[in-house]
Amino acid sequence: MSESSIGRVVEEVAREFGRERWRLMDIARGVQQRLGCVNSQAMDAIASWLNISRVEVEGFVTFYSFLSKEPKGRIVIRLCDDVIDQMAGYEEVRRGFEAALGISLGQTTPDGAFTLERTACIGMCDQGPAALVNDVVVTNLSSDKARNIVRSLRENPRPERLVQRFGSGNNAHPLVRSMVENNIRKAGPIVFSEQARGEAIRKAVAIRPAEVIRAIKTARLRGRGGAGFPAGMKWEFARAAEGSPKYVICNADEGEPGTFKDRVLLTEMPDRVFAGLTIAGYAIGASEGIVYLRAEYAYLRRYLEHILDRRRADGLLGQKICGKAGFNFDIRIQMGAGAYICGEETALINSCEGRRGEPRTRPPFPAQRGYLDCPTVVNNVETLACVTRIMEAGPATFCEHGTPQSSGTKLLSVSGDCSLPGVYEVPMGITLRDVLEMCGADEAAAVQVGGPSREMVGPAQYGRTIDYDDLATGGAVLVFGPDRSIPKIVSAFMDFFVHESCGECTPCRVGTRLIKEQIDRILAGRGEPKDIDELLQLGETIKQTSRCGLGQASPNPVLMTIKGFRHVYEELVSPDPHGYQRSFDLTESVREAERIAGRRSIHHREVRT
């Protein structure tokens, strides 16, 4: 493509978003979509249109995995390689795609038609192995299906044609048309209760904003993303904060491997989520809301836009909402571009502003200075759905469920070795044992509650409860049967952190890699007893010295499993009788020199004395 036509594309896209610097995400995504990459000329052009430095654009583009400097194929196949998909047969699927395309992972076919990549969890663990074909989700893959997909894409390069049977519920909606299944195994009394569109907002605007906040505080609603910060308190801070305008953001960047409940919520209950965001806006005095939707869920975008349009038409968004004079509020959807860390609220705010999704140093907290340096509330999708229900049915009804410290229900995304993977709405305080029974995990040998950054527990601890006092979770429950190797699972989790570390601080950038190498050495039978304690020491160092939550959580897979399953590691390690480091492999180390010299190393003849 010629330089002038690249310039034209960039100009068009930049104009579409008002040449605003803070819309860099949309601009870069637009350019990526039209050109198949954001190459050097495109970056120069973007920089000059937005009047920012070239390095800012480059830093941005290289941060996000859905943006690329190198040209991608017209169809990008992104294979999800999280641990659950690996258990479900990722390797065979990968080989199937590689064979059919004649390229290996990370490559593009010579004709520029296909790129094959790996990607972190795309939120389809209950129907894996799964992949994204451009924006289209394909699930329950096998090597046969992989070959068929390639064949049909060669015949007709429109990924949407791959969907022959629609999934349940709104996945069959004309604007979604996806094969994704909801797998709602248990609909509870709050999030999945009967919807009464508009009722919650009408009730909210009938009372003063401070009273709305009081209702949320009375319900003792805590953040459903996992951290559990009291939602009412967060709103109160933002309401009291100086500065305007104020913003509310819905965090739909569900990236924790093994979590997919927000996907189902957005598919089936989008009105309830948008209502919650609107109520949050009313409560803190905001007139603009943003839904930050992860790039992996782009297939839901047109449908969600349609729901927003319908709400505008019904007077639930826009000017004078529900007739309330002075309450004007609208919502826009901000797409992400594939970065796990953007689920952290300050990173998410940076990303919304068209910056690298790196966490900010706190304070100031977003409630004081967030999006565009204005007071901002960021709430999880599920939290907002709870807000709506609290306004509908009252705080007392909400508190009837759960425990005093953790009121309400919790959505769990259950996947792995169980017969009924899917979404469960359970009361807070439920024991893990009850959850496992519900999902048909009779033989669970270990359960990762809350995804890689949280805790892995064994059978002796199945009596523990899922709530903010014990096993706090954003919703992921990964079940592992007795045949699974825990260090292997940990190795897969570490792959994830190695890939997602932004690289800014050394403990996380280097430490995650060191842990990964050490675990792999242990798995290869080259571990020594001292390695286990070294791993603990390294993990503690990373935890204490990393700047953001990702880094602090990154050693958790290894720390938690050594704590709970030390014997598994001990069985894999042994000391060297001579005091040699078993991690050092002389044969491997001289292989390259042997090739260059064209002879074998004499050490092959070495006899130990």
Binding site: G579, Q581, F584, V590, E592, I596, A597, I602, H603, E606
Partner: protein
């Protein structure tokens, strides 16, 4: 009772640490009173014939011979000390870790501006130990017991460490001995 034996070696190092040993000057006589030098460049003893109390290792491992020597030290010494920055961290030789070894060899033997090698042969004689893919500090190859930083550690540092190890008192080096700025 026979005197405890001490062995030293220089692997991928510059012999600077050994020069620093010699810098203990006349104290070497004092040292000879209480220890016996065994395998060492100083004595020119090539192989271990007896077990040693202390082994001082200069340099990291850059080739297979370094590995073999270091492993022999591990087998034959009770206490192994990484002496100097190369043994401790890889040091200057480890700068080549950022370059493929084929490129290193070509630069040294073929492409270097002062090289005259019309046949473009990279030496491959069986006498020449093969390079490792990466230069490694000593403790990545065998277990090491003590680390003496410094490039080189001063004679006083080495003296203090060796005398402490011989007297079996804790090796507690005063700050000035390990301060390098």
């Amino acid at each position: 009772m026979s005197k405890p034996r001490l062995a030293t070696c220089s692997l991928a190092g510059c012999f600077g640490c050994h020069m620093s040993i010699l810098d203990i000057d006349e104290r070497i006589l004092e040292l000879a009173e209480v220890i016996q030098f065994h395998k060492s460049p100083i004595t020119d003893i090539k192989t271990f014939t007896e077990h040693c109390r202390i082994g001082l290792v200069e340099g990291g491992c850059a080739n297979e011979e370094n590995v073999e020597v270091l492993r022999a030290f591990r087998r034959n010494c009770d206490i192994l000390v990484s002496m100097g920055d190369c043994a401790t961290m890889g040091g200057i030789p480890a700068l080549r870790n950022f370059v493929e070894i084929e490129e290193c060899l070509r630069e040294a033997y073929v492409d270097g501006p002062s090289t005259h090698n019309p046949d473009g042969v990279i030496p491959r004689d069986i006498e020449l130990p093969l390079l490792l893919d990466k230069v490694r500090p000593a403790h990545e190859v065998v277990r090491m017991d003590y680390f003496l930083p410094g490039c080189p550690p001063s004679a006083d540092t080495i003296w203090a460490a060796v005398t402490a190890l011989l007297s079996e008192s804790p090796v507690d080096l005063p700050y000035p001995l390990v301060k390098y700025d």
